[in-house]
Symmetry: C2
Subunit: 389 residues, 2 copies
């Protein structure tokens, strides 16, 4: 197993902090938006005298609340069609672990959320990358090119939409193409929708679960981490209308007994909130997206497109090795004793050698900090290139 490419550089940021340098974190999807108080109020209201295990599939009232929430966004998932998980992470592990056996292959749109590789490693699965190209705006390519690569061991295709790390939003017709490809090769389709509501420029959020003709092969992964700025709650969802899949996943769920009860109680509070809350959050991220776009546009030699969703943008830098650059920023560069940390993108690819020049920026800080972070990044890049020249 590899170290998490998002987290393995943390020792360098810790060192910087020990030296008294402030580190602006654009490397990890940890928003600075205040967690709604509804979380704690719901715990206060609902917690009994004992904090017991919950049902392995999660507290029923919470599953009902998710079901209602999904309905409000226009698709149907009943409380019996989902498992509450330890964050989206465990939902991915359960999904992959259920549809594939050790030694099997899983198709993944790359660049992908880096931990897919770690989960595949844990389960001894091979990743089979379908590359989306920055120059094509990370569009889903013509999948017929991959027909010949599918074998009896290829069991599923997994991707996030909106996409972490690119910020791309795959339109419905692309999801349809993926589903058709999956049907042709008898694959399960795992769609990670933890950023579902974060789409910009008037786009409407939608779920893969709306494709009811494909329900038997569809698994949806969800999480409250980003949506309600509650990454530390560790509450996610694995949803599918395929009963066999859910039954298999339930065995894994039973083995680990239950997701965190207190966080589940809090999450009911999130789901009872006024839906306008999420519209405001979306507006806030769109504003931040605009800032990052504007700031990055000032930097020479970058390659990137305006992202349409999530809160990430992938950027190709004019450097040989972005990881070296990220380390250098932490170890040797600062402006007024402040530096910026981003994530190198090679760990988000399965194709060797891909992503070496790219980084992922998470625009999770408020306006002023974000501007400052981008400016430091720009200055750092200038100095780094000057030194290299």
């Amino acid at each position: 197993m590899q170290s998490s490419p998002i987290r393995r550089l943390i020792p360098y940021s810790e060192e910087a902090k020990e030296k008294g340098v402030e580190v602006l974190h654009l490397n990890i999807g940890q928003p600075d938006i205040e967690t709604p108080k509804a979380f704690f109020k719901s715990i206060e209201k609902r917690a009994g005298k004992v904090i017991p295990y919950s049902h392995s599939a999660g507290i029923k009232e919470l599953r009902q609340a998710f079901s209602k929430y999904y309905k409000s966004w226009g698709f149907e998932v009943s409380p019996e069609e989902m498992l509450i998980t330890n964050g989206g992470s465990e939902a991915i592990i359960f999904s992959l672990g259920t549809v594939a056996d050790p030694g099997d292959e899983v198709v993944v749109l790359e660049p992908f959320y880096a931990n897919y590789r770690s989960f595949a490693g844990m389960l001894n699965l091979q990743l089979l990358p379908v590359t989306t190209d920055p120059e094509a705006g990370y569009k889903v390519p013509d999948l017929s090119e991959y027909d010949d690569k599918m074998t009896a061991k290829t069991k599923a295709i997994v991707f996030s939409n909106p996409c972490n790390p690119t910020g791309a939003v795959y339109p419905k017709e692309d999801i349809k193409r993926i589903l058709e490809f999956a049907k042709k090769h008898d694959l399960y389709v795992i769609i990670d929708e933890v950023y579902r509501e974060f789409v910009f420029d008037g786009l409407e959020p939608f779920s893969g679960m709306e494709f009811t003709d494909y329900h038997d092969r569809l698994i949806m992964v969800d999480s409250v981490s980003k949506r309600f700025s509650a990454c530390g709650a560790r509450v996610g969802v694995m949803a599918t209308k395929n009963k066999d899949i859910l039954e298999q996943a339930m065995k894994m769920a039973q083995a680990r007994l239950s997701p965190p009860t207190v966080s589940q109680l809090g999450t009911i509070g999130f789901l009872e909130m006024d839906p306008n809350y999420l519209i405001e959050v979306r507006e806030e991220y769109q504003k931040r997206r605009d800032i990052v776009y504007e700031e990055l546009s000032k930097v020479e030699g970058l390659y990137f497109k305006k992202p349409k969703g999530a809160f990430y943008v992938s950027v190709k830098l004019p450097v040989d090795n972005s990881e070296k650059f990220v380390k250098w920023m932490l170890q040797e560069f600062s402006v007024n004793n402040t530096t910026t940390m981003v994530a190198p993108l090679d760990g988000f690819y399965a194709t060797p050698g891909r992503g070496l020049q790219e980084i992922r920026i998470a625009y999770v800080l408020e306006e002023e900090k974000l501007k400052q972070a981008c400016e430091i990044l720009r200055k750092g890049l200038e100095e780094y290139r000057r030194k290299a020249a």
Copy 2:
């Protein structure tokens, strides 16, 4: 993967409840003791505006609190020698996943905590059982009998002490024998100590970590679930002084990002409590142990020994198949519209055919309920045998 033998009968208890029957749960280690308020107070005191991911190894202040807690019990684990996990469950998964590769074997003292089998299934490991015998008080047998069974693929030995499901407490000399056996065959030793403080009749709690000569091969698993009646917090510990092991486990920890932050904040509150709290809890369980022992002694045809720790007792019933009996109790038997649920023990064995007549009783209910549950069990057993005769 098998269904959890503790949880797979839940649909039958749900059915019983739907029919209006009260079910007294002695089947699962879910105590009825009130969770100390220190948990919620600590959350209130420590939670910031955002509920962020924590460090993948867990919040530093929590690791420091555990370190201090362990020191108060007479052994040393530094904050850098542990990972905070999603309950003891994840600590076991990380431990097994780190020391063994798919296809490897793990020695396990049987009967064992049933989910070890599920975790081994998830990781594609084979369990190699060393049987402890009810007639010998579940004592650790002479391990030299197993010398010939160890192969290059045998990587570790795992057991809980005090033992779930038997309630046996292995004395220090037995742990020493296990460690010597492990040394001879170059195995890692994973000791699950989630019931460490629950030992009766004047026994003193101790940890395998006290065997400092074996530190390189020792992994300790811990949890606050039972100790502080907080099963739903999902806070556990994987501890080892072997840096390579911890580094490997850290990769799995990074992949799933972080344990639940809110529960971690609450747990600091547990660890700051007056140590007398645990002495009172131990006394409560000893009292319950005595009640169960007395009540079961009234029943004809049972085979069991007085347990010395944890809050379980394994009992051999005068029936052919204990699972059938458990189902029958839920479906067909009640006294004043109340019935008792226990766990069949065959799922706690790796040796096929073992445990078919045994059950595990968890004495997790208060005195009156416990007496009632035992009486219903006794009456049920009488009627079941009468019908079978």
